[in-house]
């Protein structure tokens, strides 16, 4: 079953259209990558889904048209966006950030259990639960951002460059945890990632964007090592 489907999606900032015709689909429980050079429109594609950029075309989630919904409405349908730059709530504590993630949920016990699960998934956060998010390292902030998204118990996670600015070993730790999260929770994922190895460690299929359009779509196995992929990562 298709969970999320984009058909000929366009998006613009003011008068400037920056993606013009992106199509992709994410099956239930699947993990799909969006690859492409800097400025190809990956972040904008995720923003089109979460309702933070003006969008044309068709976006359906569980068969329902979600284009034009506000970001909080999109979130309420079960889509959690971990934005580029992490978007942690700096003046709130780690625990509070996680609780904000569970804003739409009921059931204290289940929420408390999921906080524990997050801290098990990201043990680095355990000693810092009372610290303000702004005081965390970049890697810890990224973990917190993923944890907060998980706290919403979404059906789909939008993940934007979770490795950006992190030391390679930290990036690997983050991706290991995200893979475990996927295995244990079955959450579907749409993953934007510049690091090809990290991307292919997490996704089953991927689509390559070039200046706001798909130029190639295939399984991880097909795409690994292809010229287009190399070109995408080297920026043309």
């Amino acid at each position: 079953m298709t969970l999320l489907e984009l058909v000929d999606v366009t998006a613009s900032y003011g008068p400037v259209q920056v993606i013009d015709g992106v199509s992709l689909s994410v099956p239930e429980g699947g993990s799909v990558g969006i690859l492409g050079a800097n400025g190809a429109g990956k972040t904008t594609t995720l923003r089109a889904i979460s309702g933070t950029v003006r969008t044309g075309g068709r976006i359906t989630f569980e068969g329902r048209d979600i284009r034009g919904l506000r970001p909080d409405q999109v979130a309420a349908l079960g889509i959690a966006h971990v934005p580029e730059g992490r978007g942690t709530l700096g003046q709130l504590s780690v625990r509070e950030n996680l609780m904000v993630g569970a804003y739409l949920r009921k059931g204290r016990k289940a929420i408390a259990d999921d906080v524990d699960y997050c801290l098990e998934l990201f043990p680095q956060l355990r000693d810092r639960v009372g610290s303000r998010a702004a005081a965390l390292s970049g890697g810890e902030q990224q973990m917190l951002a993923v944890g907060r998204a998980f706290m919403a118990k979404p059906k789909l996670l939008l993940l934007d460059e979770a490795s950006l600015g992190l030391a390679p070993s930290t990036a690997k730790t983050v991706y290991d945890a995200i893979r475990r999260l996927r295995r244990e929770s079955g959450i579907a994922m749409l993953v934007v990632e510049q690091n090809a190895n990290l991307a292919f460690s997490l996704v089953d299929t991927a689509t390559v964007l070039e200046t706001g359009r798909n130029v190639l779509t295939g399984t991880s196995a097909e795409l690994k090592g292809m010229d287009e992929i190399r070109r995408a990562y080297l920026g043309g």
Binding site: G87, L89, G90, L92, M99, V100, Y103, A152
Partner: protein, 293 residues
């Protein structure tokens, strides 16, 4: 000794009015990241609303209740239709907008009720009690107690409730908060509404003492802002402590430092601000904002 205690208690009472306004300012800031310079003017309008209902023969407690509810709505509407479009933009623009709002609400008050001082009845009895040799009015005491109670409730709201957490999340990063499903627009309206409610309470508590005029809280706003800076924008308790300190200090200084006297006592909070900002830029109780990228 008697005079001293008298001055301290009176100072605490005026300080509690500054505190109420300061709390409203903190609330808006916690919920929207803005400083609302119209907070005092809005509080005066609230007091006028209570006054209007009194004029219709409505009993005082009920008139105050009506004013409080109306103020919540006015605060929420002001956010939605005036401030909203400027919130995301340049913070300096938003400041100018709230100053414009101050002019607007003061103008509305003046237009509807004029500039004459209007008498406003007190919610609390005008009797006095004797404490440690000082004669203290029940009104002053009750006002102070009311404000302290509100402070406690606010602190609990922010730190212990889901609504408080949501308001703080939206103030911190509205775009990111929306990704967790927080209805940002509605929460901003609630924040402004609650602040206006607080202001309304301050307005009706102080109106009997100052008598009602459109500019009734202009000076109090200056002291409230001083308290906010001293106490720290993130700390309701800090603001109340700072506001009380300012109230007491200005009273003591006016009497015991002849050079300053009543004419110059408004300088007191500014000297305090100057000293504190040099020693502790985040305010007495505020937390340092650390940003790491």
């Amino acid at each position: 000794m008697g005079t001293f205690i008298q001055l301290v208690v009176d100072g605490l009472s005026t300080g509690s009015i500054y505190a109420a306004l300061a709390l409203a300012i903190v609330l808006v800031n916690q919920a929207t990241g803005l400083i609302n310079f119209a907070q005092g003017g809005m509080a005066v309008l609230s007091a006028y609303i209570a006054y209007a209902f009194l004029g219709l023969g409505v009993p005082l407690p009920l008139a105050i209740l009506v004013a409080v509810v109306a103020s919540f709505l006015l605060g929420a509407l002001a956010e939605r239709f005036l401030v909203r479009r400027f919130e995301r933009g340049d913070p300096d623009t938003a400041v100018v907008v709230t100053i414009g709002l101050l002019t607007l609400v003061t103008g509305i008050s003046a237009l509807l009720w004029g500039y004459n001082n209007l008498g406003f009845p007190s919610l609390f009895p005008l009797t006095s009690v004797e404490i440690l040799g000082a004669v203290v009015s029940v009104r002053s005491l009750a006002t102070t107690v009311t404000i302290v109670l509100i402070m406690v409730v606010l602190q609990l709201l922010f730190l212990r409730t889901k609504l408080g957490l949501a308001l703080r999340a939206v103030a911190d990063n509205p775009g990111s908060a929306a990704f967790s499903g927080l209805p940002v627009g509605r929460l901003l309206m609630v924040g402004w509404g609650l602040a206006a409610t607080l202001g309304a309470i301050a307005g009706v508590l102080v109106a009997p003492q100052l008598t009602l005029t459109p500019g009734m809280l202009d000076t109090a706003l200056v002291y409230a802002l001083a308290a906010v800076i001293l106490g720290g924008l993130s700390s309701p308790i800090g603001c109340v402590v700072a506001a009380s300190a300012i109230g007491v200090l200005e009273n003591l200084v006016a009497v015991y430092v002849p050079l300053i006297g009543h004419d110059l006592k408004i300088a007191v909070p500014f000297v305090l601000i100057f000293v504190i900002l040099i020693l502790r830029p985040q305010g007495l109780f505020g937390r340092k904002v650390v940003v790491r990228v």
